[in-house]
Symmetry: C2
Amino acid sequence: MTTSTINHQVRLASRPVGLPTADNWELTEEPVPAPADGQLVVKVTDISLDPAMRGWMNAGKSYIPPVEIGAVMRAGAVGTVVASANPAFAVGDSVYGSFGVQEYAVTSGRGVEKIDTSVVPAATYLAALGMPGMTAYFGLLDVGRLKDGDTVLVSGAAGAVGSIVGQIAKIKGCRVIGIAGGAEKCAWLTDELGFDVAIDYKGQDVKAALRDAAPDGVDVYFDNVGGEILDIALTRLARGARIVICGAVSQYNVTEPVKGPSNYLALLVARASMTGMVVFDYADRYPEAIAQMAGWLAEGRLISREDIVEGTVADFPDVLLRLFSGANTGKLVLALR
Amino acid sequence: MTTSTINHQVRLASRPVGLPTADNWELTEEPVPAPADGQLVVKVTDISLDPAMRGWMNAGKSYIPPVEIGAVMRAGAVGTVVASANPAFAVGDSVYGSFGVQEYAVTSGRGVEKIDTSVVPAATYLAALGMPGMTAYFGLLDVGRLKDGDTVLVSGAAGAVGSIVGQIAKIKGCRVIGIAGGAEKCAWLTDELGFDVAIDYKGQDVKAALRDAAPDGVDVYFDNVGGEILDIALTRLARGARIVICGAVSQYNVTEPVKGPSNYLALLVARASMTGMVVFDYADRYPEAIAQMAGWLAEGRLISREDIVEGTVADFPDVLLRLFSGANTGKLVLALR
């Protein structure tokens, strides 16, 4: 890095209505400054793309403040320290942080974690060992209160979170049913990840398939999608079922009001609960989960699949849309090359 | 009672679409038999009318089997034993049971409880000391996990369950906001029952009133109504809030699909839960709750209000509709005179 190194960035230009379009983004560039005292500069190598990003683009109160208009788009990312005036970090360190959609991040180091890329690739820290893995782990085990013998249903099952949810449930000895879009994803779930059943919502009658797959009902439903599939899941709850509300990717880009679950009174019939979660609440327990998940990865019991798109930050707006068209399998990552 | 005593009954003639109409009922009469060995005959004095009855009239799986076409309408009731061939019951005993909408019930005694009418009137065993009271007690304390200092919101607050929910929350030292229809009901909640705030959904902007009443959000929302009010409550959840789904009286007679809560993703933002309950699950703990509630009644800390309509079983179809028009305050009872 020299003082003339240019940082290319993607900033939020306007708030989308429905699916984000090119108008919502602005590509900017600025020189990378030398780090001030206590700061470090990270060269970003891999950017995480998450369905939650769509929510961050909206104004209004949520579990995290919105990205301001004109700000660099928020994103988790991994990279390498290229300059440091912070004694806790040395040039060459591999790090994870909320570096944003840009080539270089200047940071105080707060919230930045060193990562060990000798065992797993850096991108895995955006997947099984990152937010999706943490979300799956705490969502299933804590919020979902997984028990021996449970039948577990997960939607968005071929996505970053869902694929880990199903695998953890299998490791814990449960019966696992995944819902995903397309025969290829479904084959991956059953053949590679060991799911008991995969239901293709694009090609199958989900309600009928779920009735066949879970004749005694579902004990834990991990919901990543909302909409129609949540309503179907509600019709198949076992007594005392737990629904984990992790997200609702089917609803993030709708322009009409969100479709609430018409069948929510099934919660009463089944004495079931529906609970929302935000992974950040578990930050102090991430080390426990990372240690556990790294062990499973090393033993080959857990597969972390990253769907890596190589490109530049300018590709971010298009790559993001893959999350909403269902084009990705596993964790979608933009690798800067 | 003589062998020629006639039992007038209300039977379900057909399943309603929307609000029940006269067509859905059949009035029948038959002689009251002498009790067979082990049986007793109860002369019914007070019949409980509950919003849940509307659900029992529908076909299909629920938390309890539907009332069959041609069967006497299911109802909790109190009465007096008038003949007994069961050593556990004597003529003159006051009893509670699921006696149905009829003047006389012949029963094996299973599920029949003797009640003490020397302290409170028999109808109170259909209210604070009956299912509504049990629902309020376990719904608020167990399902809602009430904590010191909680802000509690209850809808249907002037109804049989809601009025008890709010009073228990006050006894436990909480701030209590009730939603009810009409100025008179609201005045009763604040002036007689000690609610901190009552919101009149017929005359006020509920959303604005709730924002004023609960600036820091609601910790427990006890939902008896569903629909629009549930959606508004979802916008005002405190972190970690618990929603108790007890019923959805606004939705029981709709002919379009039930309105699911559009704002359910607020559960995620607030890390909140929504849990369904059925009071029967707590049957083995009713004695604990009854003892507690009877104590509060005796101390004057809890008011059980019964809205008693005097009439005959033939009045049942019309009186039932008061629950859905919001005409009753407190527990609606049909007293047979």
